[in-house]
């Protein structure tokens, strides 16, 4: 067990530099892919590996690649999505800061597989340090003949550039990212057409997350079959988990898919348990937009099976009793966390980050924030709770891009599992107004009234 793919050798001093990275086996996949494999063979290995998009949606990467339009005659592009901004997620930043060549290597193989001669890495503007590190890495690779014309004498050319964002969560949505890359406002496009047909500058484009692309070198080296042996079922390989919140060891961990959630939270190898010896209250397992689950449901499924870190296990039970692996942003809440305040916080986030293009999201996110603000400040009414559920359901599925869903799921899930806390806020405005942080549980002996 305990195989590392992305963070392998992360502890080696100087691994950030090309020299040390190469000494430790880096860039071997380039030789193999460019000189001994056809692009389609690379695509097939990725298909075999079962690798799924690590940005959140979990779409099979090989399949996404196979959709790219090869007949149009237009240039093809590979774009790396490094606009990491989902609250709770900071894995890509960690990867890029520490081992940037893992991504560059993966991108060269991937661009070769797709027949792209230009690739961009879109990095969120706030990651200025990351941008510097990446540019340095790319410069080294050009110098070593790993980028540019006729890479390692293979006849294949690739130019790789870093593009900077400027603070917009929505640019993590792939078509908004492409708009932003074209120098426009980050308004998501209507799909279809999908980027694989009409992407950057109207040309066939594949957009992949940083972590997804960082896997490709390993897959080329060891074969898709070997990759698929790691993990469970359709959740193959490893996953970077960003662990944060009220835990002893926040940080980025590479786990093999299938690790029990309980072990991840309590083992000293990972989160190291809840901070300050407090009780676990709830977990958001895949970044702020996926449903929050109370302790009982995150450790075990409704059926009593241990919950595992896989796409399937975390979503077992649907949204009634399950959640999603999402981007792997694992946020842990201790017994003192106020779910209402946290839900308000996230709704403010989505309100702030809505691009404003389509009406349900533009108006709905603002409305939810207002209502939650009222409840959080002890000015809510019992009917506001159902109103929130209703607004969330009217945004969900009715918007151009998934931000609408991302904004409504946390609200709906918080009320689904912690309705009593919302009711408590409505029933005890005085307590709520005076207790801004932390737990209201200690006041909760007051019998909660359900319904109106």
């Amino acid at each position: 067990m305990e195989r590392k793919i992305i963070l392998e050798n992360i502890e080696v001093e100087g691994i950030r530099s090309l020299e040390v990275y190469r000494k430790n086996g880096g860039y071997k996949s380039i030789e193999k892919a460019l000189k001994t494999m056809t692009p389609d063979e690379v695509v097939n290995e990725v298909k075999t590996s079962g690798l799924r998009g690590r940005g959140g949606a979990g779409f099979p990467t090989g399949m996404k690649w196979s959709f790219i339009d090869k007949k149009s005659g237009n240039p093809r592009y590979l774009v790396c999505n490094g606009d990491e901004s989902e609250p709770g997620t900071f894995k890509d930043r960690y990867l890029l800061m520490n081992i940037p060549h893992r991504l560059v290597e993966g991108m060269i193989c991937s661009a070769y597989a797709l027949g792209a001669n230009t690739a961009y890495i879109y990095v969120r503007g706030e990651f200025k340090q990351v941008i510097g590190i990446l540019n340095e890495a790319i410069k080294e690779s050009y110098k070593a003949g790993l980028l540019g014309e006729n890479i390692l004498g293979s006849g294949y050319d690739l130019d790789l550039y870093v593009h900077t964002g400027a603070g917009a969560y929505i640019c993590g949505e792939e078509t908004a990212l492409l708009e932003s890359l074209e120098g426009k406002r980050g308004n998501p496009r209507l799909k279809p057409p999908f980027p694989a047909i009409k992407g950057l500058y109207g040309c066939p484009t594949v957009v992949n997350n940083v972590e997804t692309l960082a896997n490709i070198g390993w897959i080329v080296n060891n074969g898709g079959e070997e990759y698929a042996k790691i993990g469970i079922g359709r959740s193959t390989g490893t996953k970077l988990i960003s662990a944060c919140g009220n835990i002893n060891n926040p940080g980025v961990y590479e786990i093999e898919m299938g690790l029990p959630v309980e072990e991840f939270i309590y083992s000293d190898k990972y989160c190291g348990g809840v901070k300050g010896g407090k009780e676990l209250k709830a977990v958001i397992p895949g970044g702020s937009s996926v449903p929050i689950l109370p302790k009982e449901l995150i450790l075990k499924t409704a059926g009593g099976e241990p919950r595992l870190m896989t796409y399937e296990s975390l979503s077992e039970g649907g949204f009634i009793t399950g959640s999603m692996l999402g981007s792997g942003g694992f946020i842990v809440y201790d017994e003192d966390a106020c779910i209402v305040r946290n839900t308000y916080n996230f709704s403010r986030f989505y309100h702030h980050e809505s691009c404003g293009q389509c009406s349900p999201c533009r108006e709905g996110t603002s409305w939810m924030e207002s209502v939650l603000h009222r409840i959080e400040n002890g000015e809510g009414k019992m009917k506001d709770i159902d109103l929130l559920v209703s607004i969330a359901s009217k945004i969900e599925g009715n918007t151009i891009c998934p931000l609408g869903d991302a904004a409504s799921w946390p609200v709906a899930a918080a009320i689904r599992h912690f309705r009593h806390e919302f009711e408590f806020h409505v029933l005890h405005p005085e307590i709520v107004k005076n207790v801004k942080h932390g737990s209201l549980e200690k006041y909760m002996e007051v019998p909660a009234v359900t319904g109106e």
Partner: protein, 193 residues
Amino acid sequence: MSEKQFKHKLYVKKGLDIAFTPETLTKIQTIISHYPEGQQKSALIPVLHIAQEELGGSLNVDIMDYVAGLLNITPIEVYEVATFYSQFYIDPVGKYVIEVCQTGPCAICGGEDIIAYLEEKLQIKVGETTEDKLFSLKAVECLGACGMAPVMQVNTEFHEFLDLKKIDEIIAKLRSESELKKPEELTWKERLS
């Protein structure tokens, strides 16, 4: 809570003489060359970053019009983009823009206390700039460093695992850094005009 009474803020062109240095212009030409011919608009966001950094910390109409000219696009295309992205400041800001993350993971780890403490320490509210134009305080959404919560960035430098003592140290360091120069040297071209 967001203010519900919006006022159309109309900005004025001051007719300032805006120009990048030749070195910067070369840098911008390199950036433009990263994109296919005719797609120079792609360079807009990177160029606005440079403009904001080198021409006074925020973007006024004159700067944006200058950028539009450089990239051969219309001014409104620049305004549309500059107002969309959180990192671009349309109104003048202080020398040090302190942006504290207020989103979920930071909030449950004390991010809100950090904001309150900074408000008290700098004697300004979120969104304001100190009288000496040294500090602007902003509460921003997720900075993507939740594992190091609470976090903030000062201009583009990240500060992680914050506590009140660390804040004291950071502010003191910034103050002493700025004292190395006279206040006149601190105020940017734009604020002098």
